[in-house]
Protein backbone atom coordinates (compact mmCIF):
# COMPACT_ATOMS: atom_id res chain seq x y z
CA UNK A 1 0.00 0.00 0.00
CA UNK A 2 1.29 3.48 -0.78
CA UNK A 3 0.12 6.31 1.37
CA UNK A 4 1.14 9.97 1.44
CA UNK A 5 3.31 10.91 4.37
CA UNK A 6 1.83 12.91 7.23
CA UNK A 7 3.44 15.62 9.32
CA UNK A 8 5.63 13.92 11.92
CA UNK A 9 4.52 10.44 10.80
CA UNK A 10 1.39 10.81 12.91
CA UNK A 11 -0.90 8.01 11.77
CA UNK A 12 -4.60 8.64 12.30
CA UNK A 13 -5.60 5.55 10.38
CA UNK A 14 -6.13 3.58 13.58
CA UNK A 15 -6.46 -0.18 13.24
CA UNK A 16 -5.11 0.00 9.70
CA UNK A 17 -2.90 -3.04 10.27
CA UNK A 18 -6.02 -5.02 9.30
CA UNK A 19 -5.23 -4.44 5.64
CA UNK A 20 -2.29 -6.80 6.07
CA UNK A 21 -3.47 -10.39 6.01
CA UNK A 22 -1.26 -12.42 8.29
CA UNK A 23 -3.23 -15.52 7.31
CA UNK A 24 -0.70 -15.97 4.53
CA UNK A 25 1.88 -17.03 7.13
CA UNK A 26 -0.10 -20.12 8.09
CA UNK A 27 1.31 -23.61 7.62
CA UNK A 28 -1.19 -25.32 9.94
CA UNK A 29 -4.91 -24.63 10.02
CA UNK A 30 -7.28 -25.02 12.96
CA UNK A 31 -10.53 -26.87 12.40
CA UNK A 32 -13.24 -26.64 15.02
CA UNK A 33 -15.87 -29.29 15.65
CA UNK A 34 -18.86 -27.21 16.69
CA UNK A 35 -20.59 -30.33 17.96
CA UNK A 36 -17.92 -30.66 20.62
CA UNK A 37 -17.45 -26.92 21.28
CA UNK A 38 -18.81 -25.83 24.64
CA UNK A 39 -18.55 -22.09 23.90
CA UNK A 40 -16.15 -21.44 26.75
CA UNK A 41 -14.27 -19.00 24.48
CA UNK A 42 -10.89 -19.80 25.96
CA UNK A 43 -9.53 -20.00 22.41
CA UNK A 44 -10.92 -16.53 21.75
CA UNK A 45 -9.28 -15.17 24.89
CA UNK A 46 -5.87 -16.65 24.23
CA UNK A 47 -5.60 -15.89 20.51
CA UNK A 48 -2.70 -13.43 20.07
CA UNK A 49 -4.12 -12.26 16.76
CA UNK A 50 -7.80 -11.64 17.41
CA UNK A 51 -8.50 -14.18 14.68
CA UNK A 52 -11.32 -16.00 16.46
CA UNK A 53 -14.85 -14.62 16.43
CA UNK A 54 -17.41 -15.56 19.04
CA UNK A 55 -20.73 -16.92 17.80
CA UNK A 56 -23.80 -17.23 20.02
CA UNK A 57 -22.87 -20.84 20.10
CA UNK A 58 -19.35 -21.76 19.21
CA UNK A 59 -16.69 -19.85 17.35
CA UNK A 60 -15.47 -19.15 13.87
CA UNK A 61 -12.06 -18.30 12.47
CA UNK A 62 -11.02 -15.26 10.53
CA UNK A 63 -8.52 -16.93 8.26
CA UNK A 64 -7.36 -13.57 6.96
CA UNK A 65 -5.43 -13.25 10.21
CA UNK A 66 -5.05 -16.68 11.81
CA UNK A 67 -1.31 -17.43 11.77
CA UNK A 68 -1.92 -21.08 12.65
CA UNK A 69 -0.01 -20.96 15.94
CA UNK A 70 -2.15 -23.74 17.43
CA UNK A 71 -2.74 -22.17 20.85
CA UNK A 72 -6.50 -22.56 20.42
CA UNK A 73 -6.24 -26.27 19.74
CA UNK A 74 -3.91 -26.82 22.65
CA UNK A 75 -6.00 -24.80 25.11
CA UNK A 76 -9.41 -26.19 24.12
CA UNK A 77 -10.62 -28.01 27.23
CA UNK A 78 -12.72 -30.47 25.20
CA UNK A 79 -10.36 -31.01 22.26
CA UNK A 80 -12.85 -29.56 19.82
CA UNK A 81 -10.11 -28.03 17.70
CA UNK A 82 -7.54 -29.90 15.63
CA UNK A 83 -4.69 -28.56 13.54
CA UNK A 84 -4.40 -29.83 9.98
CA UNK A 85 -1.85 -29.08 7.31
CA UNK A 86 -2.67 -25.90 5.42
CA UNK A 87 -3.34 -26.53 1.76
CA UNK A 88 -2.22 -23.67 -0.39
Amino acid sequence: MTVKITIGAVNRDHGSSRIYKTGGWRTMRPVVDLEKCISCYKCYDYCPDGAIKKLDKGITYDFDYCKGCGICAKECPVQAIVMIKEEK
Binding site: M1, V3, I5, A9, N11, D13, H14, G15, S16, S17, R18, I19, Y20, K21, T22, W25, D45, Y46, C47, P48, D49, G50, A51, K54, D62, D64, Y65, K67, G68, C69, G70, I71, A73, K74, E75, M83
Partner: protein
Protein backbone atom coordinates in the same frame (compact mmCIF):
# COMPACT_ATOMS: atom_id res chain seq x y z
CA UNK B 1 -21.52 -7.59 21.60
CA UNK B 2 -20.10 -6.32 24.85
CA UNK B 3 -17.58 -3.54 25.28
CA UNK B 4 -14.88 -6.11 25.80
CA UNK B 5 -15.50 -7.66 22.39
CA UNK B 6 -13.97 -4.52 20.89
CA UNK B 7 -10.58 -5.37 19.45
CA UNK B 8 -8.44 -2.36 20.35
CA UNK B 9 -5.24 -4.12 19.30
CA UNK B 10 -6.09 -4.89 15.71
CA UNK B 11 -5.33 -8.01 13.73
CA UNK B 12 -2.70 -7.75 11.03
CA UNK B 13 0.08 -6.92 13.48
CA UNK B 14 3.34 -8.66 12.71
CA UNK B 15 3.94 -10.58 15.96
CA UNK B 16 5.32 -14.10 15.49
CA UNK B 17 2.77 -16.90 15.54
CA UNK B 18 2.00 -17.73 19.16
CA UNK B 19 3.45 -14.47 20.54
CA UNK B 20 2.56 -14.01 24.20
CA UNK B 21 2.86 -10.24 23.89
CA UNK B 22 0.02 -10.27 21.34
CA UNK B 23 -2.35 -11.94 23.77
CA UNK B 24 -1.18 -9.72 26.61
CA UNK B 25 -1.69 -6.38 24.86
CA UNK B 26 -4.96 -7.46 23.25
CA UNK B 27 -6.44 -8.45 26.61
CA UNK B 28 -5.02 -5.53 28.56
CA UNK B 29 -6.65 -3.09 26.14
CA UNK B 30 -9.96 -4.94 26.37
CA UNK B 31 -9.83 -4.51 30.13
CA UNK B 32 -8.73 -0.87 30.04
CA UNK B 33 -11.18 0.13 27.32
CA UNK B 34 -11.06 2.71 24.55
CA UNK B 35 -10.68 5.74 26.80
CA UNK B 36 -6.99 5.07 27.15
CA UNK B 37 -3.83 6.79 25.96
CA UNK B 38 -0.76 4.57 25.86
CA UNK B 39 2.95 5.02 25.51
CA UNK B 40 5.13 2.21 24.22
CA UNK B 41 8.84 1.44 24.14
CA UNK B 42 11.07 0.54 21.25
CA UNK B 43 11.05 -3.25 21.07
CA UNK B 44 8.96 -6.01 19.58
CA UNK B 45 5.70 -4.28 20.49
CA UNK B 46 6.55 -1.13 18.54
CA UNK B 47 7.96 -3.00 15.56
CA UNK B 48 5.01 -5.35 15.19
CA UNK B 49 2.33 -2.70 15.58
CA UNK B 50 3.37 0.71 14.17
CA UNK B 51 5.01 0.22 10.76
CA UNK B 52 3.93 3.28 8.76
CA UNK B 53 1.40 3.60 7.15
CA UNK B 54 -0.20 0.90 9.26
CA UNK B 55 -0.94 0.79 12.95
CA UNK B 56 -2.55 -1.94 15.01
CA UNK B 57 -3.68 0.54 17.63
CA UNK B 58 -7.29 1.62 17.99
CA UNK B 59 -6.38 3.90 20.89
CA UNK B 60 -4.03 6.89 20.80
CA UNK B 61 -0.44 5.85 21.45
CA UNK B 62 3.00 7.36 21.33
CA UNK B 63 6.29 5.58 20.87
CA UNK B 64 9.31 7.79 21.52
CA UNK B 65 12.33 5.65 22.42
CA UNK B 66 13.41 2.50 24.24
CA UNK B 67 13.99 3.67 27.80
CA UNK B 68 11.36 6.28 28.47
CA UNK B 69 7.83 4.97 28.22
CA UNK B 70 7.34 6.08 31.84
CA UNK B 71 8.58 9.64 31.37
CA UNK B 72 6.75 10.15 28.08
CA UNK B 73 3.62 8.94 29.89
CA UNK B 74 4.33 11.42 32.68
CA UNK B 75 4.24 14.22 30.11
CA UNK B 76 1.01 12.86 28.65
CA UNK B 77 -0.67 12.54 32.04
CA UNK B 78 0.30 16.01 33.24
CA UNK B 79 -0.72 17.56 29.93
CA UNK B 80 -4.10 15.81 29.99
CA UNK B 81 -4.68 17.20 33.47
CA UNK B 82 -3.49 20.71 32.55
CA UNK B 83 -5.70 20.77 29.47
CA UNK B 84 -8.70 19.46 31.42
CA UNK B 85 -8.95 16.20 29.45
CA UNK B 86 -7.82 13.66 32.04
CA UNK B 87 -11.26 12.89 33.50
CA UNK B 88 -12.20 9.30 32.58
CA UNK B 89 -9.04 8.75 30.55
CA UNK B 90 -6.51 6.06 31.51
CA UNK B 91 -2.83 6.50 30.83
CA UNK B 92 -0.97 3.22 30.32
CA UNK B 93 2.78 3.02 29.81
CA UNK B 94 3.86 -0.23 28.19
CA UNK B 95 7.41 -1.48 28.42
CA UNK B 96 9.19 -4.67 27.49
CA UNK B 97 11.31 -6.27 30.18
CA UNK B 98 14.42 -4.63 28.71
CA UNK B 99 12.68 -1.28 28.60
CA UNK B 100 11.56 -1.73 32.20
CA UNK B 101 14.06 -3.78 34.24
CA UNK B 102 17.16 -2.36 32.58
CA UNK B 103 17.36 0.73 30.40
CA UNK B 104 14.06 2.29 31.47
CA UNK B 105 14.41 1.59 35.17
CA UNK B 106 15.39 5.14 36.15
CA UNK B 107 12.52 6.74 34.25
CA UNK B 108 10.14 4.18 35.75
CA UNK B 109 11.34 4.82 39.29
CA UNK B 110 11.01 8.58 38.79
CA UNK B 111 7.48 8.24 37.45
CA UNK B 112 6.40 6.00 40.33
CA UNK B 113 8.02 8.25 42.93
CA UNK B 114 6.35 11.39 41.56
CA UNK B 115 2.96 9.75 41.90
CA UNK B 116 1.59 10.12 38.37
CA UNK B 117 -1.81 8.61 37.66
CA UNK B 118 -0.32 6.05 35.28
CA UNK B 119 -0.57 2.29 34.99
CA UNK B 120 2.80 0.94 33.96
CA UNK B 121 2.62 -2.47 32.29
CA UNK B 122 5.78 -4.47 31.82
CA UNK B 123 5.26 -7.24 29.29
CA UNK B 124 7.99 -9.67 30.28
CA UNK B 125 9.40 -12.16 27.80
CA UNK B 126 12.63 -12.47 29.75
CA UNK B 127 15.11 -11.10 27.19
CA UNK B 128 15.72 -8.43 24.56
CA UNK B 129 13.74 -10.21 21.90
CA UNK B 130 13.55 -7.50 19.27
CA UNK B 131 17.33 -7.42 18.88
CA UNK B 132 17.60 -11.20 18.86
CA UNK B 133 17.31 -12.74 22.34
CA UNK B 134 19.97 -11.01 24.43
CA UNK B 135 19.98 -11.40 28.21
CA UNK B 136 18.32 -8.86 30.44
CA UNK B 137 18.13 -8.53 34.22
CA UNK B 138 14.76 -10.27 33.74
CA UNK B 139 16.35 -13.37 32.22
CA UNK B 140 16.15 -16.28 34.67
CA UNK B 141 19.09 -18.29 35.93
CA UNK B 142 20.14 -20.98 33.51
CA UNK B 143 18.48 -19.60 30.37
CA UNK B 144 20.66 -19.60 27.28
CA UNK B 145 20.46 -16.35 25.34
CA UNK B 146 22.70 -14.93 22.62
CA UNK B 147 24.68 -12.89 25.17
CA UNK B 148 24.51 -15.46 27.97
CA UNK B 149 25.11 -18.49 25.78
CA UNK B 150 25.59 -21.91 27.24
CA UNK B 151 29.16 -23.11 26.74
CA UNK B 152 31.94 -25.17 28.19
CA UNK B 153 32.40 -22.57 30.90
CA UNK B 154 28.86 -21.25 31.05
CA UNK B 155 25.52 -22.48 32.28
CA UNK B 156 23.79 -19.74 30.34
CA UNK B 157 22.44 -16.83 32.36
CA UNK B 158 24.27 -16.86 35.68
CA UNK B 159 22.21 -14.34 37.66
CA UNK B 160 18.73 -14.68 39.10
CA UNK B 161 15.78 -12.66 37.81
CA UNK B 162 15.49 -9.17 39.28
CA UNK B 163 12.38 -8.87 41.46
CA UNK B 164 11.02 -5.90 39.56
CA UNK B 165 7.48 -5.88 40.93
CA UNK B 166 8.68 -5.92 44.54
CA UNK B 167 11.11 -3.11 43.76
CA UNK B 168 8.31 -1.06 42.23
CA UNK B 169 6.02 -1.82 45.16
CA UNK B 170 8.78 -0.63 47.49
CA UNK B 171 8.15 2.85 46.10
CA UNK B 172 4.98 2.73 48.17
CA UNK B 173 2.73 2.98 45.13
CA UNK B 174 -1.00 2.32 45.58
CA UNK B 175 -1.18 -0.85 43.49
CA UNK B 176 1.31 -3.45 42.29
CA UNK B 177 0.53 -6.83 40.78
CA UNK B 178 2.03 -9.68 38.83
CA UNK B 179 -0.09 -11.37 36.20
CA UNK B 180 0.12 -13.98 33.48
CA UNK B 181 -1.44 -14.40 30.07
CA UNK B 182 -2.48 -17.91 31.12
CA UNK B 183 -4.89 -16.38 33.65
CA UNK B 184 -6.88 -13.94 31.58
CA UNK B 185 -9.60 -13.16 34.13
CA UNK B 186 -7.02 -12.50 36.81
CA UNK B 187 -5.02 -10.34 34.40
CA UNK B 188 -8.04 -8.29 33.35
CA UNK B 189 -9.19 -7.85 36.91
CA UNK B 190 -5.77 -6.49 37.81
CA UNK B 191 -5.70 -4.17 34.81
CA UNK B 192 -9.07 -2.75 35.82
CA UNK B 193 -7.96 -2.32 39.38
CA UNK B 194 -4.74 -0.66 38.24
CA UNK B 195 -6.38 1.88 35.93
CA UNK B 196 -9.08 2.62 38.45
CA UNK B 197 -6.49 3.25 41.14
CA UNK B 198 -5.66 6.92 41.57
CA UNK B 199 -1.91 7.28 41.26
CA UNK B 200 0.75 4.96 39.93
CA UNK B 201 0.21 1.25 39.48
CA UNK B 202 2.67 -1.35 38.26
CA UNK B 203 1.74 -4.57 36.50
CA UNK B 204 4.29 -7.24 35.72
CA UNK B 205 2.82 -9.46 33.02
CA UNK B 206 4.47 -12.78 32.19
CA UNK B 207 4.32 -13.48 28.44
CA UNK B 208 6.32 -16.33 26.88
CA UNK B 209 8.07 -15.85 23.53
CA UNK B 210 8.16 -18.97 21.33
CA UNK B 211 11.00 -17.58 19.23
CA UNK B 212 13.23 -16.62 22.14
CA UNK B 213 12.38 -19.42 24.52
CA UNK B 214 12.40 -21.93 21.73
CA UNK B 215 9.15 -23.73 22.21
CA UNK B 216 6.32 -24.59 19.85
CA UNK B 217 4.05 -21.70 18.93
CA UNK B 218 1.10 -23.63 20.37
CA UNK B 219 2.68 -23.90 23.86
CA UNK B 220 2.79 -20.23 24.86
CA UNK B 221 -0.17 -20.38 27.21
CA UNK B 222 0.66 -23.83 28.54
CA UNK B 223 4.15 -22.67 29.49
CA UNK B 224 2.85 -19.47 31.07
CA UNK B 225 0.49 -21.63 33.15
CA UNK B 226 3.30 -24.04 34.07
CA UNK B 227 5.35 -21.12 35.35
CA UNK B 228 2.59 -20.41 37.85
CA UNK B 229 1.82 -24.03 38.65
CA UNK B 230 5.48 -24.73 39.45
CA UNK B 231 5.94 -21.57 41.49
CA UNK B 232 8.49 -20.15 39.03
CA UNK B 233 6.29 -17.07 38.56
CA UNK B 234 4.05 -16.14 41.47
CA UNK B 235 0.85 -14.19 40.92
CA UNK B 236 0.22 -11.62 43.62
CA UNK B 237 -1.00 -8.13 44.26
CA UNK B 238 -0.10 -5.57 46.88
CA UNK B 239 -1.68 -2.33 47.94
CA UNK B 240 0.21 0.78 49.00
CA UNK B 241 3.49 -0.98 48.51
CA UNK B 242 2.82 -3.28 51.43
CA UNK B 243 4.74 -6.30 50.15
CA UNK B 244 4.73 -7.89 53.59
CA UNK B 245 0.99 -8.29 53.21
CA UNK B 246 0.74 -9.14 49.56
CA UNK B 247 -2.12 -11.27 48.40
CA UNK B 248 -1.36 -14.39 46.40
CA UNK B 249 -4.03 -14.41 43.72
CA UNK B 250 -3.30 -17.82 42.19
CA UNK B 251 -2.05 -20.43 44.58
CA UNK B 252 -1.30 -23.79 42.95
CA UNK B 253 -2.99 -26.57 44.92
CA UNK B 254 0.03 -28.76 44.60
CA UNK B 255 3.13 -27.29 43.01
CA UNK B 256 4.33 -29.16 39.94
CA UNK B 257 8.04 -29.91 39.67
CA UNK B 258 10.06 -27.08 38.12
CA UNK B 259 11.48 -29.68 35.75
CA UNK B 260 8.16 -29.75 33.87
CA UNK B 261 8.52 -26.03 33.20
CA UNK B 262 12.20 -26.12 32.29
CA UNK B 263 11.83 -29.10 29.99
CA UNK B 264 9.17 -27.33 27.97
CA UNK B 265 11.65 -24.83 26.51
CA UNK B 266 14.85 -25.34 24.63
CA UNK B 267 16.50 -22.29 26.23
CA UNK B 268 16.88 -24.59 29.27
CA UNK B 269 17.62 -27.77 27.30
CA UNK B 270 21.24 -27.91 28.45
CA UNK B 271 20.48 -27.97 32.19
CA UNK B 272 21.62 -31.11 34.01
CA UNK B 273 19.58 -32.87 36.66
CA UNK B 274 21.80 -31.18 39.24
CA UNK B 275 21.15 -27.77 37.74
CA UNK B 276 17.44 -28.45 37.78
CA UNK B 277 17.62 -29.58 41.37
CA UNK B 278 19.38 -26.36 42.26
CA UNK B 279 16.69 -24.31 40.54
CA UNK B 280 13.98 -26.37 42.26
CA UNK B 281 15.55 -25.55 45.62
CA UNK B 282 15.62 -21.85 44.84
CA UNK B 283 11.97 -21.93 43.77
CA UNK B 284 11.04 -23.88 46.93
CA UNK B 285 12.73 -21.26 49.09
CA UNK B 286 11.00 -18.46 47.22
CA UNK B 287 7.59 -20.12 47.52
CA UNK B 288 8.13 -20.62 51.21
CA UNK B 289 8.69 -16.89 51.54
CA UNK B 290 5.41 -16.35 49.74
CA UNK B 291 3.78 -18.72 52.19
CA UNK B 292 3.07 -21.80 50.07
Amino acid sequence: MTKEDLELFASGHRACAGCGEGTAVRQILKAAGPNTVATICTGCLEVISTGYPETAWEIPIIHAAFENSASVAAGVEVALKELGRKEGVNVIAFGGDGGTFDIGFQALSGMLERGHDITYVCVDNEAYMNTGIQRCSSTPYGASTTTSPVGKLSIGESRPKKPIAAICAAHGIPYTATASIAYINDLKKKVKKAVETEGPAFLHVFAPCPTGWRHGSDSTIEIARLAVETGVFVLWEAEDGDICNLKITQKPKKRKPVKDYLKSQRRFAHLSDEDIEHIQKEVDEKCEKYGF
